[in-house]
């Protein structure tokens, strides 16, 4: 009953839900985590370990992404250091 939904304020259609879910799924795929080399998660963990030998950083301090430019695969690493 579509008109009942109107009174209940349930406005989100299943197509809208689908779109929102897809946006997230696709963003994850494009970030390179889904199709990057399989060693990436381990590399990230180990790097985090090395950084922590010298300075305390939170879990999300090491960010990486795989990008493709002009036929080259570029692994970009960002290590955010906390404010002194």
């Amino acid at each position: 009953m579509d008109w009942l939904k109107f009174f209940r304020g349930e406005k989100k259609t299943s197509a809208q839900t689908a779109k929102e879910r897809l946006m997230l799924a696709v963003a994850y795929q494009r970030s390179g985590q889904a199709n990057g080399p399989s060693y990436l998660p381990r590399l990230r963990e180990e790097l985090l370990g090395v950084v922590r030998k010298y300075i305390q950083v939170p879990d999300d301090a090491v960010q990486f992404s795989v990008q493709r430019e002009d036929g080259l695969e570029v692994l970009e690493l960002n290590i955010t250091l906390p404010d002194q």
Partner: protein, 270 residues
């Protein structure tokens, strides 16, 4: 110089072979010499959709292995003499398609044809990769449905990173969205992703919308590419798509709900 176009999707059952058959037929109908190749080694299907299954003597793998010449293996369409079909092999050997072999066949075809259409198998395994690798342009066939859209996005990622054009640092493969099984009535009810939703998520230009249509099945029953059927909406969708591919500026149809006339309501005309 021949143009190589891959018809791909990632997901199976979205209409790749239907699109390959109609697209290749449409190019030939417009006077362009066109070859269409079935890359689905082990699961040959294009020959059935195009109604030439009883005329397959040699196939793609026979040509790659040197067991037949290209001339012997190409099947000339009975209706359109500019249209040629190269069937997939039914061998189960997955390694039958070698990169060198495929390249050699494509190079030989390129001397003679204007367009080479590669009908990719589903998935992202070797056959699909071989169909994509040499492409200049890609028709990404997508249904307005979550798994199909995500798989299409995955395939777009592979095209932009792993295709020969990407490896050589040339201009990237030109991508076209083909939205099939579109049902405007369900879209207006909020039950189906709209053209704009899919365009926004995949971010590639739209080449054509093919409405969900019973004629796709009835045409495949008799081995006639749906583009040849006058008076069907799916056929008209494919004819528009071919026109746009060839550079014509045609407005998109079948995106909004068609109101049924009183006559068709009363007499049940489609």
């Amino acid at each position: 110089m021949a143009k190589i176009i891959v018809v791909t999707s990632g997901k199976g059952g979205v209409g790749k072979t239907t699109t390959s058959a109609s697209f290749a037929t449409g190019l030939a109908m417009r006077g362009h010499k066109t070859a269409v190749i079935d890359f689905d080694v082990g699961l040959r299907n294009l020959d059935l959709i195009m109604g030439v299954e009883r005329r397959v003597v040699f196939d793609f793998v026979n040509v790659i292995n040197g067991e037949a010449t290209l001339k012997q293996a190409l099947i000339k369409d009975k209706q359109f003499d500019k249209l040629h079909i190269l069937a997939a092999s039914q061998t189960r050997d997955k390694d039958a398609l070698t990169q060198e072999g495929v390249e050699r066949v494509l190079n030989e075809l390129a001397q003679d044809f204007d367009y080479i259409v590669c009908d990719s198998p589903a998935g992202i395994e070797k056959g699909a990769f071989m169909a994509m690798y040499f492409a200049d342009e890609a028709l990404v066939v997508t249904n307005p449905e979550v798994s199909s859209v995500r798989d299409s996005d995955r395939v777009l990622g592979i095209l932009s990173s792993k295709a020969r054009r990407a490896e050589r640092g040339e201009d990237k493969v030109k991508e076209h969205l083909v939205l099939t099984r579109y049902n405007p009535t369900r879209v207006s009810k909020g039950e189906m992703l709209s053209v704009d939703d899919v365009k926004e998520i995949l971010a590639i230009p739209l080449l054509g919308v093919i409405p969900e249509s019973p004629s796709v099945l009835t045409c495949s029953n008799s081995g006639v590419p749906v583009i040849r059927e006058e008076g069907t909406d799916a056929g008209a969708g494919y004819r528009d798509l071919v026109g746009r591919f060839l550079g014509e500026d045609l407005p998109h149809r079948f995106i909004t709900e068609q109101k049924k006339s009183l006559f068709s309501k009363l007499f049940g005309a489609p």
